[in-house]
């Protein structure tokens, strides 16, 4: 039964290759996307640290998105 599952009655090469290519492509794209997101989050935080306290507070006060990014980035790091 296991042998049948692996060989797929002679179609194993095509079936496993199809599923394998899809799986590997999706995993690669997932990790690449995640890495880029983290990179931008870190660059964003670094940029925020270059601001003076007054500028930082003003920026955070005026933007809900900045507050969210800061909150989620702090949790991640």
């Amino acid at each position: 039964m296991i042998s049948n599952f692996i060989t797929m009655n002679g179609y194993g090469l095509y079936v496993w290759l199809s599923f394998g290519i899809v799986f590997i492509s999706c995993v690669v794209v997932y990790f690449k996307t995640k890495k880029t997101l983290k990179k931008y989050e870190q660059e964003f935080l670094a940029e925020l640290h270059t601001l003076t306290l007054e500028e930082k507070n003003k920026a955070l006060e005026n933007s809900k998105v900045l507050q969210q990014i800061l909150a989620t980035s702090s949790k991640v790091n």
């Binding site: 179609y11 095509y14 492509s25 794209v29 995640k34 931008y40 998105v65 969210q68 989620t72």
Partner: protein
């Protein structure tokens, strides 16, 4: 008019959605793979090669759906000038390209045992290849051009011209004699696929949709951060 679509309103939702998809994705993937590789029956004609359908068909559908959405948002962007649609399109395009490529590759792997060839210049296959090139050129505009207005113009033209190809892909199997079989699943009218195969296909479609949504949300979040980073001092 579309104020509710601003990044300030959408951003808090993104993290919640990413967490939600992450929490259910693995379970649905396991269910989908169990159905696709073990529980679903082999085809009376194609045998176990039919299992390739469970990755091929959802890939093709998502590839087509992404381009349709890109075209629709491009037209809306042309009329209403909503900058957010530009970021949404930029985030969707790589997902569409990925799934179109996967549909072509898995289709080729399905074609060899069933048709006896990896590739044929038949209407369905050729029009899918054309879609892949439209995606490629669409993404290239973001990489090569620097002015946002120009990118929006050029990419929208590519999307609108490319959309002519969408009905060709859909109806190619009816208009011409092709190696590719006609659609087994119809939105209107009865489908010719058995429920024992339809159910795994729908579960796998859900898996692919969740994955596409996850990648889209991550890419869209990256876009928002990139813009906010640029404008940080102006805030």
């Amino acid at each position: 008019m579309f104020k509710f679509l601003s990044s300030s309103n959408i951003y808090p939702l993104i993290q919640k959605l990413i967490r939600f998809i992450n929490s259910i994705f693995f379970l649905i993937l396991v269910i989908g793979l169990t159905f696709a590789l073990i529980l679903s029956p082999p085809d009376y004609l194609q045998g176990d090669a039919v299992r390739i359908m469970y990755v091929h068909v959802p890939s093709a559908w998502i590839g087509l759906a992404c381009f349709s959405l890109i075209t629709f948002l491009s037209v809306l962007n042309f009329i209403f000038k909503i900058r957010n649609f530009y970021f949404i399109n930029k985030s969707i395009a790589p997902i569409g390209l990925l799934f179109t490529c996967l549909a072509i590759v898995t289709g080729s792997l399905w074609g060899q045992p069933t048709w006896g060839t990896w590739w044929a210049w038949d209407a369905r296959l050729t029009s899918m290849l054309a879609l892949m090139f439209f995606y490629f050129f669409y993404i290239l505009t973001f990489k090569l051009l620097s002015k946002e207005r120009l990118i929006i113009k050029v990419s929208s033209i590519i999307a609108i011209v490319g959309s002519i190809n969408l009905p060709i892909i859909k109806y190619s199997v009816n208009w011409w004699t092709t190696l590719h079989q006609p659609a087994s699943i119809k939105i209107t009218g009865s489908s010719s696929i058995h429920s024992e195969m339809l159910l795994p296909l729908m579960v796998m479609l859900l898996v692919f949709l969740l994955y596409a949504a996850l990648i889209f949300l991550m890419k869209y979040k990256t876009e928002i951060i990139r813009i906010k980073k640029k404008n940080i001092k102006r805030n």
